[in-house]
Structures are given as C-alpha cells and as structure tokens.
Subunit: 344 residues, 2 copies
DNA sequence: TTGAAAGCGCTAACAG
DNA sequence: CTGTTAGCGCTTTCAA
C-alpha cells in the first residue's frame, strides 16, 4: 500500500515515489512553482489526487516558520462582547487564509500571561482581548508576544496597536442624555474591579460630575452579568436615583428584570441604560437604551492591524479609538416630577 | 548574543550551548526526564530561565506527531447554541491541556468539508457541529477526519460517536404540555431547511399528530433567528393557532416581540414556547417557556468522547442522546375560552 | 528543469 | 547518565 510514513498518513514521499520524482519536485508542484515541466507536474498532480495527498501543515510550518494561525485570548468566552469580537476576527482572518486558536482565561488574570505565551508560540500573532493583568505585567510581556494587537487596553510597550472603545465618552453621552430628560439623581452600576473599560467609564463619570456639580451620581458595586444587575435592585432603589447607568447591557437587563418583579415601572419610575448594544438589547421589554459599540467591526480591524504587523508593513495609524453611538430606545424617559413638588 | 537560530527565537540549541550540554539533555530536562544528573539538570534549567527559553510547539508537534490541539467546525459562530458548545468544549479540553482551533463555515455547506479537512490536519481530532452537508458527503469524509465526534448529526460511517439532542422528544413534550393547557390549535415555526435538528422536530410533531388527531398543527416557514420570529407574526396570527412552538428561543423571542407590538397578549391570547433555554430565556418579558438543552454539558461530553478516541481507549458507549427538559415559565398559559362559547 | 542535501526545532533510540 | 544520530514532513538552496 501507499502508506509508508511513520505517522500512517500519506506524505510527500509517497507521492514522490508514485510519480517517480523527488520530494522536491512534488513540493514545487504543490506550491504552484512553474519551473516544473508540465508533463511531470501533471503526473505529480495525478499521483497526489489518487493518493488523496494533502500536505502536512505542521511540516510546512516548521520549514516556513509560520503557521497561518493567529491566537486570541479572552477573559470569558461566555461574554457576548468577546464572542462578537471573536466572530469578527475569525471571519476577517479566514478571508486571508488564517485560522484562529482560542484561549479562555476564565477571568483568572494570573493565567493570562501563560495562556498568551503558549498561544503565541503556536501562532503567527496574537490578539489580547481586555486583559485583566496589571499594566506592569502587560508592559513586561507585550514585547515577547509581538506581533500583538490589544483590544480595550493600552500599553507603554512599543509597537503594540490598541483598539479601544471610548467607554468614557459613551458613559458621558448616556449621562448627558439622562440629565437632558430631567434626571438629577443618577447611579452607576460598576463593572468588574479589574476591568480597564470600567476604569474608563469611571473617568468619564468624573468628567461628567465636574461639568454637572448639581447632579448626584451614586456609585454602586456590580459586575458584568445578568445576576449582578438582578441582585442590584435593592441598592438601586435605596440610592433614590431615577436614572441608572448599568455597566453593560447584561447588567441592565438583569436590573430591569429585577425592577419588573418589584413592580417598578421602567421608564416610568426609573430609566435604565445599558452599554454595548448586544443583539438582544433591541428585544428586551422595554427595549434598551444603550451606547452601541461597533463590536464586530472591532474584530475585523484587529485582524487588519495584526496582518500588517505579520507582514511587517509600515502602517501609519496603528490602533484606533471607537466612539460609541447613543441608541435611544424605550427603557429611558423623562424624569418623573418629584411627588413632593407635584401637587394635585 | 544568544539568538542563533534562523527564526531569530531562542531554541533548544542556544540553551544547550549555554549550559554546555547536548540538545538531547536539554530536551530531557525540559520534559522532566529524571535520568538526568541533578546538577546538570539545574544548570540546564538555569540557562533556560536566563534565556527565557520556551520550547517551540511546532517542532515538538512534528517530532511527536501530535499538536495538543483539537478543531471544531460550526455552521455559524453567531448562534448562541454553538457558542455554548464551543465554550464547554474549550473549557473541558483546556483542563486536559488541549487548545481549540475554530472554523466557522458561515452556513455555506459546500465549505464544510474543506474546512473540516484543513482543521483536522492541524489538530489531533475534530468536532463537527451540526454539519449541513448531505448524509452521503458526511459518510464519505468522516473516515478521513477520524478522530471525529459529531454533534446533532449521525452517520453510518463506523467509529464516529454522535452526541444528539432528542429534539423530537422535546417538541413533543412542549406540544403535549400546551394541549394539557387546553390548546387545540398549534403552529410550528420551522427552522432552516438544511438543519437536521429541524428534521427531528418535524418527526416528533408527526408522532404527536398521530396521537392527537383532534389537534390542528399548522406548519409555518421560518428560520433560526430573531428576525425570523419577528417576521412571522402575520402568518402566526393568520393561522389562528393559540399555541406556538417556535423553532428555538431566538425565534420565540422575535415572535413575542412582534406580538407585543401588535398588542397581542402573551400568554393571555397566545402561548409561545421556545427551544434550547439560552441564558436570555429567563429574562424575556414574559419569561420564556422552553425545552432546556444541556448545551454546555454537550461541549464537555464532546471533548471526553474525542479524548477517548485520541487516546485510543476502547469505550463502551460511544455517543449519547440528550433529553431536553421542559422549562415552564410565563410565556405559556391556559388556552382562552373561545369568544363564541363564553357568554357574559 | 530536476535531484541531492541541508535545515526548521524538537524527541527518542542507541551507544557508550 | 549523556552525547551522537536519525528522523518527524516539508521547503529551499545549490549543483548538475
């Protein structure tokens, strides 16, 4: 039989024997090298087809020093935002013949560096998605991960493009919008402590508070999922705020669900806003006002940045900043006139 | 400097030189082979640390004939079901030191075979998720993909474990439940034509109809996403059915959203059920009655089956069948007494 | 135009 | 216990 190689699979050697030529010639034919005599090339191709030969990518990778694979490290594959980035990245990379290897750190920040290093060694480049590690650690490992693209995080290390969403601006837009509706008492349901995007939101809110000293902004502890929002109902009600800025859409949905159970009307009693504009946001009841992040686009752009690095192209504008767009829906409305003020 | 190798990265040779030993010894130390003199081992380790040496996985893969990577092919990475399977698979595989490479066919069934083959060659095994290709094609390529695990699809090819969800039983449970509530006119919003799981649902409904000849079951065209459900409002209302079995939760949510816009009360006027029990199902308004599929478990089980194959373990029960569990929530309720019958 | 041979980075059998 | 040597499957000089 044709199976000679140690691995039991058809190798280039089998094709060479069958076609009566050398390995080198088979390699040339398989790579479309036109310096091969057409007759011989045809013979090689026939042999390859007959044996169902497919080049072993591992052998190629070793010889070529590239794997045609990129890696992505995410803190939590269950998060719709990271799923969308992954999807956009995968699609864009696939169009250029690259595959993607995923690594989920399950929000264990101490694992990130190891995962990233391992993934990087098997790939031609890496996308690090909202890493939870410290600035110092990120700056230290970043050079060893090159080509590397960062999402929602920046670093002082040189030559690392960053794609960041301007969460600070987004949360300010939401807050301004609520104030425009007459709300004077706001509350922010914060995200995970380690999250850089949460930090950006906090900075944005500071700027907002400086501009609107008369508006009360209560900070509440939170997280990034449904249950966080659902569990925050008590503290939200206790805050007395009528405009709630949830860390993201999931939290907002959990909160709306909890408020609904308590008989609190949204937006009649309380206005709720999310962040991200995940697909479900337009299907909640009421539909969710949020700041839309062009997330799939982000994945595609991450690939283009990474590709430029892999190809060693000089490219002028490494990284970019994305502005969220206010998406006004039904979960927000005019502030209720205070009970004590309204009379009759 | 230490960088000698052609790729510009630190290789085993650099460590060998630095420690004054042979490559082989370095390899032994790095692989925890205890036949190495402790002093020498320490010297090697010190050299490795100093040079920040990390073994090149591609070289290892070629030598060992394994990549410690598995592949998964999905029809659509945007689908929550496949996302959940991916997540479960990734988590389970990671616990055994395996990584996962993803391939999205974007519902282009003609691409599946190529994607699967490519992914397989770079990996030690493959999970094919709900492939859309024909039975004949699947049976033909399956052997070349071994070790292979199938999800929501079976094949006559030998030695291929299949994990299938019993959609037929699930849809029957939902239908029986609705009938128990007094509904006598049901409608089924079908899924994508190529989907095997849709076929199973249809078979289940045939069995149901045989048992309940007095119940009217209207078949409506559909799809698998929000918009499908949202767009089906007219045909649903036209059918006169009071109990709607949506293909999945997404479709059900889209439908509920559309019914809400039309002022139709769910479950007062019409009961709606989904399928899958995606995380959002418990947060819709009203919360969604559905058939829960233990989807994350499925990903984990897929890995265990694949692992057994990779390790060439004989294992008695390849594949398994998952029974959906009825999850009764607020989107379903008693059938309204017909207007004409109620009086006063 | 083609083949022989070297090499990608690593593991492992085989001597010593 | 350690070094030498031979691959793993492929690409790519270098001669012929």
């Amino acid at each position: 039989m044709a199976r000679k190689s140690a691995t039991g699979r058809i190798g280039i050697a089998d094709v060479a024997v069958k076609a009566g030529v050398s390995h080198a010639t088979v390699s040339r034919v398989m790579n479309g090298n036109f310096t091969v005599d057409p007759d011989i090339a045809a013979r090689v191709r026939a042999a390859a087809v007959e044996l169902k030969y497919q080049p072993n990518p591992v052998g190629r990778s070793l010889a070529l020093g590239k794997t045609d694979t990129i890696g992505i490290v995410v803190p939590d594959l269950a998060n719709p935002t990271f799923q969308a980035i992954l999807r956009g990245l995968s699609r864009a990379a696939a169009e250029d013949g690259y595959r993607v290897l995923i690594a989920d750190s399950f929000e264990v920040s101490s694992e990130e560096a190891i995962l990233a290093g391992e993934a990087r060694r098997r790939c031609d480049g890496l996308v690090l998605c909202a890493p939870r590690m410290s600035d110092a650690e990120l700056e230290e490992i970043a050079p060893s991960l090159h080509p590397l693209v960062l999402i929602n995080r920046t670093t002082a290390a040189a030559g690392i493009p960053s794609l960041v969403v301007d969460y600070g601006q987004g949360v300010q837009d939401l807050a301004e919008y609520l104030v425009g509706l007459g709300h004077t008492r706001l509350a922010f349901l914060a995200g995970p402590a380690g999250s850089a995007s949460n930090g950006l939101r906090l900075e944005g809110l500071e700027a907002f508070k400086a501009r609107h000293p008369q508006v009360e902004v209560t900070m509440l502890d939170g997280g990034s999922d449904f249950d966080t929002g659902h569990g925050a109902v008590d503290s939200v009600l206790a805050s007395g705020a009528t405009g709630i800025l949830a860390f993201n859409d999931l939290v907002a949905m959990g909160l709306m669900s909890g408020l609904h159970e308590r008989g609190v009307d949204v937006p009649g009693d309380i206005s709720v806003t999310g962040f991200d504009d995940i697909p479900f946001a337009r299907y909640t009841t009421p539909t969710l006002t949020t700041a839309a992040v062009p997330i799939a686009e982000l994945g595609g752009q991450a690939w283009r940045e990474l590709r430029a690095l892999i190809r060693k192209e000089d490219h002028d504008a490494p990284g970019s900043r994305y502005q969220p767009r206010l998406e006004i829906r039904a979960s927000s409305g005019p502030a209720k006139a205070p009970r004590t003020a309204a009379h009759g």
